[in-house]
């Protein structure tokens, strides 16, 4: 039976020239999601935003105009885990899931970034859609069990492709 839990995470965005982002050393402990050539999201455990922002600020060496900002408030993370989580995801989306890695697209008709980590799936959604996504998951996946206490983000275990 898949489990649904809210995951608390900090998110920092780096907006910079593609080459500057290419050259940026990925800060340790953060999952990088390159959502566009000039946009990199860094996802990490709660409280990490400040340190992450400082580390990612190195991008300004290559692009003086680069914008590095804590956008944690803009994102909500819902996580599906346990047996049946990937099958549950099929009820929500037509995205093909890698075993490990990130895909973005339509999940329950919302713009979602999906971090696949074996049987654990993190769904990153703009925070104004958060409650709607939760409701859609609960109604579309009838056997899902909701965990009341939020989890803190931990780095994906599976090796990323």
């Amino acid at each position: 039976m898949p489990e649904l839990a809210r995951t608390l995470a900090d998110v920092v965005v780096c907006l910079a020239e593609a080459e500057a982002l290419d050259a940026l050393e990925r800060p340790r402990g953060a999952l990088p999601i390159r959502v566009a050539p000039d946009e990199l999201l860094l996802v990490a455990h709660p409280g990490a935003a400040h340190a992450l922002g400082r580390a990612a600020g190195a991008v300004r060496e290559a692009d003086g105009d680069a914008l590095v900002t804590d956008v944690s408030d803009g994102w909500a993370v819902w996580s599906l885990s346990g047996p049946g989580s990937r099958e549950a995801f099929m009820r929500l989306s037509m995205l093909e899931l890698p075993n490990a890695g990130v895909v973005q697209g339509d999940v329950a008709r919302l713009p979602v970034k999906v971090v696949a980590d074996g049987k654990r799936l993190h769904l990153l959604v703009p925070s104004s859609w958060s409650e709607h996504l939760r409701e859609r998951i609960l109604s579309l996946v009838p056997d899902v069990g909701e965990v009341a206490e939020p989890h803190a983000w931990t780095a994906p275990r599976a090796r990323h492709a």
Binding site: A16, D65, S72, R91, P126, S127, S128, E131
Partner: protein, 873 residues
Amino acid sequence: MASLDLEGRRVPFEDGDTVASALFRAGVRTFNRSLKHHRRRGLYCLTGDCPNCLCTVDGEPGTRVCTTEARDGMRVRRETGRPSVEADALSVTKLAGPLMPVGFYSKTFIRPRVAWETAERVIRRATGIGTLRTDDAPRSVPVRNVLTDVLVIGGGIAGLAAALAAAERGERVLVADEGRVGGLLAPGPARERLQALSAEAGGHDRIVLLEHHVAVGIYEGPMVPVAGRDELLRVHPGRVVVATGAIETHGVFGGNDLPGVWLGRGAARMAGAHGLRPGERAVVVAHTEEAFEHVATLRRSGVEIAAIVAPSALAGSAPGGARVVRDGRVVAAEGSKGVRAVVISAGGARERVECDTLVLSLGLTPRDALLRMAAEEPVGGAGDVAWPGCSLVEAEESGRAAGRGEPVERRPLGGVVVGGRGTVCLCEDVSIGDLRDAWAEGWRSAELLKRYTTTTMGPCQGAMCGRVFASFAAANAAAPRAGGRPTARPPARTVPLEVLAAGVHETGTKRTSLHERHLQMGAHMDRSGSWIRPYRYGDWREDHRAVRERVGVMDVGTLGKFFVAGRDAPALVDRVFPCDVEHLEPGRSRYLIVLDEAGYAMDDGLLCANADGTYTITSTSGGSDRMESALRDRIDRWRLHVHLLNQTAMLGAVNVAGPLARDLLERLTHDPVDRDAIPYPGHGRITVAGVPCHAIRSGFVGELSFELHHSRSRGVELWDSLLAAGEDLGIRPHGLDALDVLRLEKGHPFLAQDTLPDDHPTKLGLDWAVDMTKPAFVGKVALERMAAFPLERKLVGLEFDARPQRGAPLYASARVVGRVTSCAVSPALGSPIGLGWLRTVDGAFPERVQAGSVMATVVPRPFYDPEGARVRA
């Protein structure tokens, strides 16, 4: 013994019975009445194709009982016919046939128009195939996405052969069959072979077999919606094999729709699978060898074969024991409640053969609607749908080829002979005579004829009549294109409305961080665009009064909020927006109207210049996506070094407005909020109740106001502090209802509500927001060109003698010259005011107009505080 209920009568059934066979065993011969002429209709195809057995089963109208398995306690009603299907008073309409020509509605109820209202009620009661239950709780059907390499539609011999061939290549296969696999077959070699294939497919771990799953259509992708009993699958296959088989060709002659006329496979199934004689004495029309199998099956069940009508080429192999009429043609079936005799014409002579059953095996017509709607997609056919009338071996061979992804060429279909009399479209009750009349009236192409006569548009979607209809058009059309088959469109099979609606409730609603607070405070919440927002907290007039007289707060976290940085940021905003950017000092802001290349207003908002060369932009709540794409598009196209951050989701915003707004903020902040620190129009950074805020002065509601943008996670804290600190000031929250009137009093249009898609700033009275001296901005060229023409339409302020309806037309000189787009009785002014569109009359804008039933005077905007002293306070 298990039984079902037919209109209050207990009907026992046996194992393996369908609802139709159970009713037939109990003596039921009339299953429904035809749509227009209320002719009796009996069992015909028994394959779930024709509309003749549509009944209401357990409240579900339009159910084909010939493919519905009987279950204990089922309630079945035949809903056509008044008072009942057996004694239908409305069958007299068939005598009035000449008075009800095709195109009856279009021709008859045109004038006077009011007649239609009455006529429609009568017609709606008289026609239709059942009654929708509207009192039930809506049933929502969940949607599931399924990925597969191959989707096979149809679990017959060709379909299962295709599935096995694909699975052997290592592909994942999904097989969808609308019934039970093999459920339609009478005992015989076909059923035995199918059972063997089905056992093999069932044991294969790469094949998923879904019974009672109906493919609704094929969309680009390909994407195939497949309706199960309790869910809708959106199947995304790599490719599709359509193996939906064929149906026996519908025969058209006088009396062709009488109960007792059967398609060959239907009669054989009733006799062979259910052990029920379709009748006592039958005439069999045999244009296929399969028909001779039907003769044997019918005989075994005890039917006497009165005659076999066959072409010479086949007549030699007809079974003995019955008279064979060579090259004969059925001209008419006679009878009133059912067939009593058949008139056959052969060799110039006519003969009448008494019988109660007429069995038609005229050849096969592919069930190819899905195939025809997927011309450009990786979709192939196999079995009867590609090679109608193919043998078992051929079916399997074509299936394996299609399963391996090899193309299966479709065999060409001949036309069918169309002449004489009879019903072409069983669903819509259209006769061959109706088609001839419509053609004579000028509807001379298949597509036009279809729309005018509604042929092929009923529950069978042309499965029965499509080929006959196409043959009629081809035979009459001058140009080949005019004779083709009309386009096939989804749904290919009948699906319940809730399946069509599956997923519509997925339309999302965004929520601000204050959602729970609004609910706790008793707000009336509703959708507004993609957001769910408060409309009022109790009486909106009280909410309104707080803003005008004291202080009010509103959750405006829905506003589009953008941050623009990078060395080209000034160039971007200067070249996109029509306002003066060059002279915009840091700390100041401007009203922003966003134009498209055609000079039309897309959205509006505020532009704030920050100290470090960056900008903060707000847009309307509904316009944030448009704003983002407009900006991103220009950044990319002009190759600007700009970083755009959409902050809509991460920032909350509360508008604090009213003459006491500053007093309230001063209680909660140590930062200066006077006119020098944060002037109008301007903005600044302040900390309110410990929450860092970007405070933006705005003028939308016409009072001193500060929009406090803050981190979403601090929203509740800020909201609570504001309400607590303002309690003794008489603070109130307000929603969209009060806002609508507040901004109307100020004369501000709501873009999209008060505007039309082709409004440029002059029409809206927003010339002041456009700096035409700038060298360039998006839409400037279009505005210059439009300025050369006199203004013919503009948005005006209106004062009414009494409150009109929103949307009321504006009249001047007995002509419609505009429309009311917003109106309300203004609490501040005590009179009804509004905004509306006005066109010129003889080159000038009228000054006094009639708005529906009340009079209106055109007045300058704003209505309230025209000097703007309150906003600038």
